[in-house]
Structure formats: structure tokens, C-alpha cells
Amino acid sequence: MEYTVGSIAPIFLSPVIAFVINAFLGRKLPRQGDWLATLSIFISFIYSARIFGDFVFGNFATDFFIHKTFTWFDLNHAATIFKVDMGVYIDNMTAIMLLMVSGVAFLIHLFSTWYMDHDEKHGRFFVFLPLFTSAMLGLVLSDNLFSLFIFWEIMGFCSYSLIGIYNQKEKAGDASLKAFMTTRVGDVFLLLGIVALWMFLGSVNYVDIYAAIAEGKFAGQTVLGISFATFTALCIFLGAMGKSAQFPLHVWLPDAMMGPTPGSALIHAATMVTAGVWVSLRMYPLMVLGDITWFIAVVGAITAFGAATVATVQTDIKAVLAYSTLSQLGYMIMGVGVGSYNAAFMHLITHACFKACLFLSAGSIIHSVHEQEMPKLGGLRKYLPYTHFAMMACTLAIAGIPFFSGFVSKDRILGDALYYGFMSGQNPLLAIVPILGFAAAGLTAFYMFRMMFLTFYGENRTHDNHGHGHGHKDAHGHEAHGHEIHHEHLDVRQNVPLLILAVFTLGFWFCGTLTGQSFGKVFGAKTEWFKVLVEAPVVEKFVDHKREDFSRVDTREKTHLEHAHYHHQTGYAGPNPDEHKLHSAHTIGAIASIFIAFAGVFLAFLMYIKGSVKPWASKFPGITKTLENKYGFDEFYIDILIKKGLLGLNRGLAWIDMGIYDRYVVDGMAFVNRVLYKSAKWFDNVVVDAIGVDGTGVAVNLFNLVLRIVQSGKIQFYFIMLIMVLASYVWTLNI
């Protein structure tokens, strides 16, 4: 198929159009135009599906890509040429990502039409949702870091609006502000990195950057004393950390659940947070060149483990899910760090599916029970059978139970981490990475099943809390009073999206081959389509690349895929020297993670079903306290850094500016005048009267004669002055 404007633009544009229409006359449309938004996303899903089909089933080579550009604006004058190009860059990863984003987003839209019904913010919600999706799609499509940054920021704006959509809640405001500013911290660094790259290479196209890496342009370049590659890679990764909520900048994501649940689903699963992983995958060669993969791995591992620990004590369903997102993102980043490129990407995709499903299920629960505190739920199994089914499937997936997607992707990351930490002869300290990774895997299984058990099993506790009505507000802000939980029926808008997503939690979708055999194999297959199609960019291939204008027709040959050419691409050492070590690492990793996962599930079972083991919360109150206030990051950032540090500094500066600088220095000029005036007056009064009239002290002895003469009135002092001045004139004639 041809890749023309007509075949690519709709993916991005149709949601934009929906956004514009809804923004201006959404209120006039029936159902405030939610159907329009959903439809627009569906259109872009169709177009993405075409591309996906073309790339995946059309058997393109791994290194085939479409790259078309057009000029946005230029600053050309006499001799100088400076163009800002926009364009699309489509390869296998893009195709897969497009399908995932548009698909998941479509299902979320569909669900939202049910969830947001009769919600006061229904209209506004469906203004931002399509814009959000379109920004993500544009980000995935874009061929250079600059346009990526643009969509990146627009997504930030959308998340700001979605999180703060319940604007009469003070907390919503705080959460949205926090989300925007925290990500902004990363963003400015990303911008800095982009600027640096742009001014160094003259372009920020992926292909140009790859080519420059291949040609070794970065060699020996330094900026501010550190290697240029490291500088830019670090800046870009800081941006990624902000967006996908990695360890120091993770604080915004848990609060992001202030928004409506489907919005959280979109933020957590398909769009926002995955952008960070996406850009660090795209810039992977730069990360390697800049030699910061170890840093990435450590950050990822810390996030994965820390978030998992916090998740174990959360009581709010959405909070648990939020922290699980954090920890899964940690896995992805860790995967990038340890160089399991395509596993990281696969985890991105799988996680997107099951996390979306989980959030939607949570939404379905909250919407039908008006309660999201797990201790007040329970036994919902019989009320919400479909939700329960979907959620269970996803929980199995995320917990890493075999035959489910989460297992496939996660255990590959863990395997590579194992190899990276212990066998690749890296710095032994890096062994922390796989250790934390495995620990987090166990915790994940534990807290996910804890959530499942508390929510769907045991006896129903929803009625207890309605008796003593301590006003607990749910996401909609109105009192949760005990109306009867109606049984869930199969509804195309409520739970069919869940079920569809649940289908994709099965492992074989991702680990099968294109030809269909070895669907049974759960790991280690050499010819899985995912592994074959997705591999870290081999920069040498981009050296002699000519970018094409949209007008030109794509003439490149579609080469058939030869499996023989496939080699397992890892980050650190090109073609891997010791394949078998890696293979054994994977085997060990897989087995270990299976056991760990089951251990976690069993522990949760003992605690919350059988109750034979008391929850450890009571046993280790100190640790629980620490975990419950999330290692005190919020307190540290808000109270210490911002309130005390930043605001203190600002107040001080402002006070200096107006209180000191302005008053004493600037107005001081007028003051100086006044002083001069005073001195002139002093000259007339003090000198004349004091010295003139009753001169005493030193002055007397000095001008004894003069004073005896002067000690008359004022006019005579004028005479004195006259004569003295005359004398001084004469004196100046240097006689």
C-alpha cells in the first residue's frame, strides 16, 4: 500500500477534529458528542490497523521503515538555511504501537461513554480524551524529537486537564498541578537535550541521529565538561523519567487518579506514561553511546521495587493499580537499561492491555458500588461476574503467571537483567538490578491478588459502612449512600471492552510466530514474530538514508524476511558473544519468576482468604507507616523543597527586590538629591550660622582671624565667600 498523506494523516487528525468540534459545540451535540470522539478514535484505529497489517503480515524486513517529511517553517535568508521539518517515521514498532494505542484508546472511549453518563463533566471529559489520544498517536508517528516534544507537552496539558477535571475539589487542583509540574521538570531537560542535539547535528530526526552515531560524530565531543553523548542522553532520559514517572519524579502518578477512572486508564495504560519508555527506546543507541544504560537500569529497578512495596499497603483500588503501574513502568525502563530492547517494548504493549483492562474494571466496580476503599468492598464476585472475570485474567497476567502475557514479557526482562547483573561481567554492584526485579515480581503477585481477594472474595462489606455514615466521598464527589448493588449484565459499553482487553492478556498473542506454530511455546522460541520484527535500531543502516518528501512515492522494495538474518540484539555488545549464557540466564529467570509469582499469590491467599497468616501490617508498624506515607516523598517535595525552599527563596527575593533594592537603591537616587539639597541648605544654615555666628572648637583655632571677622550676619558671610572664591580663583592661576 502507498503511504500518502491521505493514508497516514487520519490517524492523527480525526481525533483532533473530534476535539475541535466537541470543544466548540460539544454542548449542543446529542450526548455532548461522546459518540463523535469514540468514532474518531475508531477511524484512527482502522487506519492504524491497515498499517499494522501491512507491516506485520506483509512481511517487511526488520529494518524497513517509511520516513516522509514536510517543512513546517523555515528561517532561510540570504545565505543561511534553517528549516524546521515535521514528518512521519513508521517502522514495525510504530505500527504495533499505533495499533495498541488506538485500539486501547477506542475501548476506553467506549467504556467512558457508559462510565461518564450523567456525570456533570461528561462533555468536558470527551473534549480532552480525543485530544489526548491524538497527541499520543502523533507522538508515535513523529519522526523527530522536536515534534515528539510538542505532542509530549500537549499530552502533559491533557493530563493536567483530565486530572483536574473535578475542579471544585481542592485535591484535584493539587494533583493536576503536581502532575504537570513534576513532568515539566523532566520536560525542560528533554527540551535542553533536543536543543543540544539539534544545534550539534543540524537536525533531530531519528534517522539523522542514528546516522550521526554510526559516523561517530559524537566522538570526543564534550559539553560542560562531560561527554556530549552522555549529556544529551541524560537530558532525554530525564524527560523520560518525568513522563513515565521514574523514581525521583514518580510522585505525580499516584495522585493522577483524582481524575475519572477511564482517564486514569488512558494515562496509565496507553498514552502518557508509555511515552517515556517510547522515547528511551527510540533513543536507545544514544543511551548506549552515552553509556548511561546502567543508570537507566538502576532507576528502573528502584522504581519497580519501591512502588511494589508501597502498593502492598494501599487500600484504595485505584491507588493499588497506580502503584502497580509505577512498578511495571520500572520494569520497562529496567528492560531498556539491561538491553532487552524488544522485551521492554513487549512489556509496554502487554502492560497497556492488561492495565487498561484493570482500570476499566476498577471503574466498573466504582461506578456500580460507589466505593473504592477495598476494606469496604468484598464478595463482589456474584454481583459483577464479567468484571471479575476480566479483572482476574489481567491480575494473572500482571502477576506473571505462565501462559499470560505479563509472564512472557516480564520474565524476558528479568532474564536479561539476570544476565546483566551476574554474568555479563559488569560492575558487581549492578547485581542489585535483578535482585530488586525479582523481589518486585513477588510483591506484584502478592498485592494484586490481595486486591482481588479483598474486592471480589470474602463476604460483602459494602453495607457495613453505610450504617455509620462518616461522609466518605467517592470519585464523583457526592455522598455514597447505600443503594442496592444491581447485578451486572452483559453491556456493550460497560463490560464488553473489558472482555475484549482480557482476551489479549493471553501470552500466545505475543510469543507465537507469524506462521502460527509454537503458540504453545511460552518462551525461548527463536522465531516469535515480536522478537523478529522489533529489534534495537542498528545505526549503520541509516548512514545513507535520504529522507523523502510527502509528494514522492515510496519506491523502496519490500524485502522478504529471512529468519537466518535474525540475531538476538542486545544493547551492550552488538552480537552477543556468549549466547548460551544468556539462554541459561533466561531459563533460570523464567523458572525463578514462576516460583516467586506463585509464592506471592499463595501468601496473599493465606492472608486474605484463609486468614491463617495475619496481615503483616500489624507486625511491622514502622515499615507499614513508612510505606503508607509512600516513603515521605510528597512531604519532602512539597513541604521541604517547595514550601520551605523555593517559596522561601522567592519571598526573600521579592522582598529584597521591592523592599531593599527598589526602596533604597532606586528611590535612593531621589534620596541622594535630597541629601544634596540638605547639604546645600546645611551650607547656608550650619556653616553660616554655626560657624558664622558662634563658631567654636577646631574651626575657631584654624580660621581664627576669619572667624572673628565672620561672626557677623549672613550677608557678610556672602562677602566672605565672594572674597574667598576670588582668592581661590587667583590661586588656580598657579602663581
Binding site: N673, R674, Y677, F719, M721, V725, V730, L733
Partner: protein, 488 residues
């Protein structure tokens, strides 16, 4: 012989007119009974005569320079232009004296008599070509000024002002005269032209004596134009004397003194001898000090009259810069400045006078909220203040611009910076007054009686050149330029 004498006199007509006017006024003063309206008639007569004098002066403006009365007096366009300015100033002051309540109403025309006398002295000073005429001019100017200063006979302040003026003037005139006597001795003549010829040949003691004598001589002029440090009498006298007198002092004696200063500097120091260099340096220092002291002291004033007095000192300091550069452009700039300054000062004093007549004081408060009582007057006053501060599009800016340009042409950037800072200081107090008029709230909306339609008409008429010369100032510049060409 005779008609040759009359040929001389034909250029001397303006002065003669003044003499005639004086005498006739004296007669009228003693004879005409004080009944209704006679005062107005007398004043009108004086103004008419002065207008006539103005006519002749304009006639002389185009003429080539002449020396009459055996080189005692120069009639050249420069002196003529100065005279025009002075006559205009005198007319303005006399008109003000008519409506002002600050001087006794039972005096029919004494103010006019004195003013014309001072004007006569100023004319002599402006066109003096030898020491004698110059001294005569100074003394005529001074002695009558003493009387004018002590016009309010029963008020101690006025009398005291007059007395101080008299004593200080006497001393400085005497010192100047002593200097002149030595100059005469050394240079062997009282004719400027003959004295200059002797200058180059001097050496040793004689040169020294000449230098010292010139310093003495400068005291005489310096106190007339009240430059630092001979300005100290100025605020007292300005405060003590009635407002019409103050406005008169702010214009006529200053212009006359400047004229004398310019002429002397050009005749004696227009060469690069040691004499002229030390003279120029002296002038630089004096002008810097003068404008600084004038502006800085003006800031703290609460009486608008004193404020204007000090600001006049500041302006003189700026004008002297035109003397320092010792070239035609400089004098041209001074002349332009003088014309513009005359108009601005008159307006400012008019409005101040009428307000202080109304309220009996001339503090800032009487200006408060003027915009609500007399919008036109307030706007004109504000415009004049901005013009005095040197804001475009008013003529004050052009005057300042010319002075700056001649200074910078000589690459005297240091003094240029001093002048720049001074004009900021000046703006400060002018704006303070403008603020009081326009932002302040009026306490009671009593109409000021002084602003009769006639007075307002005069004020507007005086304002037109202030605005006009700020935009189309070429003609006047050319006129001043032509006046300068014959200076030597």
C-alpha cells in the same frame, strides 16, 4: 558732523525711546491724578512705547554692525536680538505688574519706570564696547534693581531683600571696578579692541595682574547672572521681591549679563592663549556647579517662586555652556535658549502670580487640582513645566538639544553627562509640581479671579511660541545664527 551724529543716533533710537519713556512716565506719575483707569492708561502707554522700541530693534536686526559714540557702543544683530528678548521680557513683566496684587496698587507706574530703567541699563550692557559703557550698564541695571527688589516698602522681607541686593551688588561691582582699573592700567585703554591688541605681548607680572583683574572683573558679571558661587543673594532677593519683579529679574538682568559675558569672552578669549584656556576651564567648572546647585536646591523648595528662581539658576548654568565652546553655534544656542526661556518663564510666573494673588501664598498647595478649576491654565502650566524640563515636543527640548549639541561637538562629554543628569534632577521637581496640579484633588472649586479672559488670552499667546518653536524652530535658529555672525 551733526547729521553724522544723528546718523549714529538713528541706531540708538531704542535706547532713546526708553529714556523718553522713563522721563514721561516720571512726569505722569507725579502729575496724573489717581482716578479710575489712569493706571491702565499709563501702563498701556508704556507698553506701546516699548512696542515701538521693539519695532526699531527689529529694523536694526538686519543691519551690519556699527560702532557709535566713538566706539563706546556696538550696534550689531547680536546685541539687538538680546535687546529684543529683554524688551519682550520687560513688556511681559510690566503687564504682569498691572494685574498683580503683589505690588501696591496705589503705585501707578513706578514699576514701569524702574523696569524701563533696568532695561536701559541692560541695553547698554548688551551693546557695551568699552569698559566704561559696560560699567555704566551694570550700575544702571543694579541700582534700579535694588529699588525694585525693595518694592514692597512696608514689608521687612522686601526691604531686606533690597538691602542685601544693594550691599552685595555694591561689593561685587566695586571689586569688578577695581579689576577694571588694573586692566586699564596694564592694557592702556578702556576700549575692548585696543585692549585686546595688548594682550599677546604680556608677560611676567603684568600677565599675572591681568589674569587676577579678569577674575575680579568676572565677579561683576557673575553676580548679575547669579552663577555659582555669586548666586547666594539670588534666592533671598527672589523670595523677598514681588512676583512681577522676580519674573523681571529672572529674564532681563540675566540676558544682559550673558550678553556682556559672551561679548567679553569672544573679544578677549577667542584665541588659544593661556588666558583663554584658564578662562574656559573656569567657565566649565562654574557652569557645572551652577546648574547642579540650582537644580539640587530647587528640589527642596516649597514656594513655587523660589523654585522658579532656583530653576533659573540651573538654566543659566546650562546657557553658560554655550559660552564655553566659544563659537557661533554656542552663541546661537544661547540666543535660542534665551528666547524660549523668556516665554516659558513669563508664563510660569504669570500663572504663579495669579494663583498666589488668589490664595495669598505661592506654595505647592495653591496649584493643587488646578486641572479641575482651570483646565486650560493647568494644561499650559504643565506643558511649560515639561518644556522647562526639556521634554519634546516643546521648545525647551530644542533649546536643550542645541546646548547639548554644541557641547558634544567640542567633545566635552564629561560636562554633557553632568548636564544630562542635571536635566533628570530638574525634571523631578517640575514633575512634582505638574503632579500637584493634575493628580491632586482640588479643595473646593473656587475660580481664580486673576484668570480673566484677557490674562488667559495673553498667557495662551505667550504659550504659542513655546509649542511652535518646539516643532518648527528652524526660522528662529537661522535668525539667531545670523545675529551671531557679526559677533567679532
Amino acid at each position: 558732523m551733526i547729521q553724522q551724529l544723528f546718523g549714529f543716533l538713528s541706531y540708538f533710537i531704542p535706547e532713546i525711546i526708553c529714556v523718553v519713556l522713563m522721563t514721561t512716565l516720571l512726569v505722569a506719575e507725579s502729575t496724573v491724578k489717581e482716578e479710575h483707569g489712569s493706571r491702565g492708561k499709563i501702563i498701556g502707554y508704556a507698553l506701546a512705547m516699548l512696542a515701538l522700541c521693539l519695532l526699531f530693534l527689529f529694523q536694526n536686526l538686519g543691519e551690519a554692525p556699527r560702532f557709535i559714540f566713538h566706539n563706546a557702543i556696538t550696534i550689531d544683530p547680536f546685541s539687538t536680538l538680546i535687546k529684543i528678548i529683554m524688551v519682550l521680557g520687560t513688556m511681559g513683566a510690566i503687564f504682569l505688574s498691572y494685574s498683580s496684587k503683589d505690588i501696591y496698587t496705589n503705585l501707578k507706574s513706578e514699576f514701569a519706570i524702574m523696569a524701563v530703567g533696568v532695561l536701559l541699563g541692560g541695553m547698554l550692557l548688551a551693546s557695551a564696547n568699552n569698559m566704561l559703557t559696560l560699567y555704566l550698564g551694570i550700575e544702571t541695571l543694579s541700582i534700579l534693581s535694588y529699588v525694585m527688589a525693595s518694592f514692597k516698602r512696608d514689608e521687612s522681607t522686601s526691604t531686606e531683600a533690597g538691602m542685601k541686593y544693594a550691599l552685595y551688588g555694591g561689593l561685587s561691582a566695586g571689586v569688578a571696578l577695581y579689576g577694571i582699573s588694573h586692566l586699564y592700567g596694564i592694557l592702556g585703554s578702556i576700549q575692548f579692541v585696543d585692549m585686546v591688541d595688548k594682550l599677546p605681548g604680556l608677560e611676567g607680572t603684568n600677565l599675572l595682574i591681568v589674569l587676577v583683574s579678569f577674575m575680579f572683573f568676572f565677579v561683576g558679571i557673575g553676580y548679575k547672572i547669579s552663577v555659582f558661587p555669586f548666586h547666594m543673594w539670588t534666592p533671598d532677593v527672589y523670595q523677598g521681591s514681588p512676583i512681577p519683579v522676580t519674573s523681571f529679574f529672572a529674564i532681563v538682568p540675566k540676558m544682559a549679563g550673558l550678553a556682556a559675558l559672551i561679548r567679553v569672552s569672544f573679544i578677549f578669549f577667542n584665541n588659544n592663549s593661556a588666558l583663554s584656556i584658564s578662562w574656559t576651564g573656569l567657565m566649565l567648572v562654574i557652569s557645572a556647579m551652577t546648574m547642579t546647585v540650582g537644580n539640587v536646591t530647587a528640589i527642596g523648595q516649597t514656594s513655587v517662586k523660589r523654585l522658579l528662581a532656583f530653576s533659573s539658576i540651573g538654566h543659566v548654568g546650562l546657557m553658560i555652556l554655550g559660552v564655553v565652546v566659544l563659537n557661533e553655534q554656542g552663541v546661537r544656542a544661547i540666543l535660542f535658549y534665551g528666547i524660549v526661556y523668556m516665554f516659558m518663564t513669563l508664563i510660569a510666573f504669570y500663572i504663579t502670580s495669579h494663583l498666589s494673588d488668589m490664595y495669598g501664598t505661592d506654595s505647592y498647595d495653591v496649584f493643587k487640582g488646578l486641572i479641575y478649576k482651570h483646565p486650560t491654565m493647568a494644561i499650559i502650566m504643565a506643558a511649560v513645566l515639561f518644556s522647562l524640563a526639556g521634554m519634546p515636543p516643546f521648545s525647551g527640548f530644542v533649546a536643550k538639544f542645541n546646548i547639548f549639541s554644541v557641547v558634544i561637538e567640542k567633545k566635552l562629554y564629561g560636562i554633557a553627562i553632568v548636564a544630562a543628569i542635571n536635566s533628570v534632577i530638574a525634571l523631578y521637581y517640575y514633575v512634582k509640581l505638574a503632579k500637584t496640579m493634575i493628580f491632586g484633588q482640588a479643595d473646593g472649586d473656587v475660580k481664580v479671579l486673576g484668570f480673566t479672559s484677557g490674562n488667559q488670552a495673553v498667557i495662551i499667546a505667550l504659550f504659542i511660541p513655546v509649542l511652535f518653536l518646539g516643532i518648527f524652530w528652524e526660522k528662529v535658529m537661522i535668525m539667531s545664527g545670523n545675529a551671531v555672525l557679526f559677533i567679532k
